[in-house]
Every structure is written in structure tokens, then in C-alpha cells.
């Protein structure tokens, strides 16, 4: 309970110092520059602020407002404070607040930092595309790959979407090519390959269906055409035992830009 109490005290400090000035800010148009300075403008700035590294302009604004931001507060300020789970009246608040509080304490006590070039930073890009000229959407998963010690590139890791869920599961019917097929010149094959929803069941036991290969094929054949990338969400698993989701919270207030919209405990260790 103490942890929870501490969290709320800290949270309200955030609300007072960083967040709830919104109403007056919005009425003053020329304060937009100030909001822009507070805004977490890029994912790299998110990582910098998480790692307690501020750019000169942000430091200047903090100095001007006599705000000394401890690392703990800096991390709290990276959460999406508009998340309904931060509303005390919400019945689920206590659970999430405790989780956030534990996470922040863990990061401070164990001096946890995010490595900008980590392969445990996954970007999920939502894609708008056309499949045979009909609109479809799916998600392309990307991650950073170290080409050399000081060189990076982003690579496509996987792809997710209804479009790629082509096979059904069915344990009630056993599908196979019988042992006698060879003697019949595999004439069963024609029938098997018409069983379009279960084609994978006729393959060897170590076969793994690869949606990514399918996407590449469809694009290569001109069947699938990517139109635009609608939004990007980052899943950061670079902090042992934790998974954070970071999204661009596009709004005109200090607590905006790339912020933590979800937090999970995991068993993964980078």
C-alpha cells in the first residue's frame, strides 16, 4: 500500500508541475513553443529522457520554470497521463499504478537504461495496402540490426494481419497423402491441393508457414501494394523483466508525443 501511496504522491506532483497547466497553455497560443519543448518529439528523445538525458532547450525551459526533474519524475512524465488507468476513480487504477510504481522504482534502483541500438526495440508499423486493388491493412514488425559496432539499419522481422492467416486448424479430420500415393503417380495431390484452407497439413513435419515470405511474394507479383504507413508503435523489451509500449500521443499539451501507453511484466531477459 505504501508503494501505491508513494506513486500517487509522485503522480500528483507530475500533474501539478508538468501536466495540468494545459488549460492555461491552450488559451495562450504563443505557449505552443513551450509545449513543443516538453513534447517527446522523437522516439530517440523518448530514450534520451528515459536515460535522464535532456536536450539544451528542454533544460532551459526546466531552469526557467525552476523545475528540478529527478530521474524518477522524468520517467513518470514519459507515461501517457491521459490513460484512464491513471484516473483514481477507475477501479483498475490501483493495479496499474502499482505496476508503474514498481517499474519506475526498479529502473531507478537498478540503474536501468535503454540502449538506443538495442535489437529489443521492436517497431510495429500499421500499413494500408491494396490486395488486388481492394484495401487491406496489416502490421509490419521491424527491428534494428547492428551491421557493425557503430552502424545500424532497420530490418523487417515479421508481418501480422488477417490477410496472412490463410490456414485453418482442424483436429477432427486427418489430412495426408497415403503411403501408396507414389505408385499412383501422386494423383491424390490434385485433390489435396484443392483443400485450400488446410494445405499446410500436407507438408513435412518441420514446415513453418512464413507470413513474411508470403508478403514478399505478393508484393513481388504486384498483387499486394503498400500505400502508406499509418502509424507506428514501439515495443521495448530492453529492460529485463519489463515490456513497454510507446506510441505517439498527438495532442496539444505538455504530456504529449512518444509516451508509454502500456506496461507489462515479462519473463524475457535481453
Amino acid at each position: 500500500m505504501n508503494t501505491l501511496k508513494l506513486f500517487f504522491i509522485s503522480f500528483f506532483l507530475q500533474v501539478v508541475s508538468l501536466h495540468n497547466l494545459n488549460a492555461q497553455e491552450l488559451s495562450l497560443h504563443n505557449n505552443n513553443e513551450e509545449i513543443f519543448t516538453y513534447r517527446v518529439k522523437q522516439i530517440s528523445e523518448f530514450i534520451d529522457r528515459f536515460n535522464y538525458k535532456f536536450d539544451e532547450e528542454f533544460k532551459e525551459v526546466l531552469d526557467n520554470e525552476n523545475i528540478t526533474l529527478a530521474r524518477e519524475e522524468a520517467i513518470y512524465a514519459l507515461f501517457d497521463l491521459e490513460d484512464p488507468r491513471f484516473n483514481i476513480e477507475n477501479i483498475h487504477s490501483a493495479e496499474y499504478a502499482t505496476l508503474v510504481s514498481n517499474f519506475v522504482s526498479h529502473c531507478i534502483e537498478n540503474k536501468q537504461y535503454i540502449d538506443k541500438s538495442s535489437e529489443y526495440i521492436i517497431a510495429n508499423a500499421t500499413v494500408e495496402a491494396t490486395l488486388n486493388d481492394k484495401p487491406v491493412d496489416f502490421t509490419i514488425e521491424l527491428q534494428q540490426e547492428n551491421v557493425a559496432p557503430d552502424m545500424l539499419k532497420w530490418v523487417i522481422n515479421d508481418v501480422h494481419g488477417e490477410l496472412f492467416n490463410v490456414f485453418n486448424e482442424d483436429s477432427t479430420i486427418l489430412r495426408f497423402l497415403p503411403p501408396s500415393s507414389d505408385e499412383l503417380d501422386f494423383m491424390e495431390l490434385r485433390r489435396a491441393l484443392k483443400d485450400i484452407d488446410y494445405l499446410d497439413q500436407y507438408t513435412h513435419k518441420s514446415f513453418e508457414y512464413s507470413p513474411l515470405s508470403v508478403m514478399l511474394y505478393l508484393i513481388n507479383q504486384g498483387i499486394l501494394e503498400v500505400q502508406s504507413i499509418m502509424d507506428v508503435t514501439y515495443i521495448i523489451e530492453d529492460l529485463p523483466g519489463w515490456q513497454i509500449t510507446v506510441k505517439d500521443c498527438n495532442r496539444n499539451m505538455r504530456n504529449s508525443g512518444w509516451l508509454i501507453t502500456d506496461l507489462k511484466k515479462t519473463s524475457l531477459t535481453p
Binding site: N22, N32, E33, F36, Q42, A148, M151, M230, D231, N252
Partner: protein, 209 residues
């Protein structure tokens, strides 16, 4: 900055077919050469400062191009000068929020974007950029070039007569590329800053009344 200027005449001969390249695909030969050459941290800091100047230069050109009170000759010149700042093939992707809340995106070659900016159907256009720009750290890519992103905010107002008929605030993410280019006069290769693709997104108004 002298350190940055590298005399490598022999390399000049090896750099060929540049025009056929894009930002996502370069010849292996060129990539191999560039990966061998690295900028020092001090050089990178200098380039970071220069990036701010380049971005300022670009935003000034945007203001001039859009300003219908400026003579057309000056606006045309600004358009031409603005294009010189960009890497070949750079695009501007604009996303706007529709009345139903959905987001519409459209990408145009930079040339087309600037030409359209000049011909907007308003009697007067006011464009203002905030004084501050956020520039991320440079990271070396597999092609040996250095990449960063600068974020700026633009306020746009379109007038019909004395009345504002359209206004928006957009966040512009400008890709920054440090590439090695040849100076044919001095037979030298030196690192130079280019602007790359730009992602412009309308900033969403708060739900707070």
C-alpha cells in the same frame, strides 16, 4: 572542420553511377568506401549545429515560397534554393486529420510539394516556424552515411481577403543525411548535410476545453 575535408582523389574515380542510387539502395562499392571512413564525435557535433542552420535555411525558404506578398521572382528563387538542400528523390508525406477523425496521408516529390505551396488558393498565406528544433543524434547507416532527424513545428494560416479561412499546426520530421560529396573544382571529397524525406503531420488539438 578541416579534419572533415578529406583529400581522396583516388576515391573520386571509384564513385560512379551516383544518379542511379536511392537512399535505400546504394552501390556496394560506394558503401564499402564510405563505411571505412568515420566522422569523429567532435565532427558530428559540428554537423549537428550545421543541421540547425540547414533546417533554418529550409524553413526560411518555405516562408518565402508561401508568402504571396513577395515578388514571384524571389519566391521562384527560394523554391530553387530550397530544392538544392535536398537529397535527390526526397518526398514530402503529409498527413491530415479528416472530420471523422481518420488520418489521410499523401506523399509527393519535394519539387511538387514546393510548387503546390507556391500556388495555394489563398489571397494571403502566413507561415511561421517555432524558433526551436529538436535534432536527434546521428547514427551511421550500412551505406556509411550518417542519419538523423530534425523536428520542427509550423503554423500555417490561409486567408481570403482579411479572413483566415484555413489554419493548422503541423509537426515536420525532417530526415538529415550527412553524405560525402565531390567538389570537382578542388578535386576533393567532403562531408555535406542534405535534407531527406519529410513527414508532416497535423498536430491534434487537445480534448481539454
Amino acid at each position: 572542420m578541416q579534419k572533415v575535408i578529406i583529400n581522396i582523389f583516388a576515391l573520386i574515380l571509384m564513385f560512379g553511377a551516383l544518379s542511379a542510387q536511392t537512399k535505400t539502395a546504394v552501390t556496394s562499392k560506394e558503401a564499402n568506401i564510405l563505411t571505412e571512413i568515420s566522422l569523429s564525435n567532435d565532427d558530428i557535433e559540428v554537423f549537428k549545429e550545421q543541421t540547425r542552420q540547414k533546417v533554418d535555411e529550409f524553413t526560411q525558404h518555405i516562408i518565402t515560397i508561401g508568402d504571396k506578398d513577395e515578388p514571384m521572382e524571389r519566391r521562384n528563387l527560394a523554391e530553387k534554393e530550397a530544392l538544392k538542400l535536398f537529397y535527390a528523390g526526397s518526398e514530402m508525406e503529409i498527413s491530415s486529420i479528416l472530420t471523422d477523425g481518420s488520418v489521410h496521408k499523401i506523399a509527393r516529390p519535394m519539387e511538387k510539394y514546393l510548387a503546390r505551396l507556391k500556388a495555394l488558393p489563398y489571397t494571403k498565406v502566413k507561415i511561421k516556424f517555432y524558433d526551436i528544433a529538436y535534432v536527434s543524434d546521428f547514427t551511421k547507416g550500412p551505406d556509411g552515411r550518417y542519419y538523423s532527424v530534425a523536428t520542427v513545428i509550423q503554423e500555417f494560416s490561409g486567408f481570403k481577403g482579411d479572413n483566415i479561412v484555413y489554419t493548422d499546426v503541423t509537426k515536420k520530421e525532417i530526415e538529415i543525411i550527412i553524405d560525402m560529396v565531390e567538389d570537382p573544382f578542388f578535386n576533393q571529397k567532403s562531408w555535406k548535410i542534405f535534407l531527406g524525406d519529410i513527414k508532416a503531420s497535423e498536430t491534434r488539438a487537445s480534448a481539454v476545453p
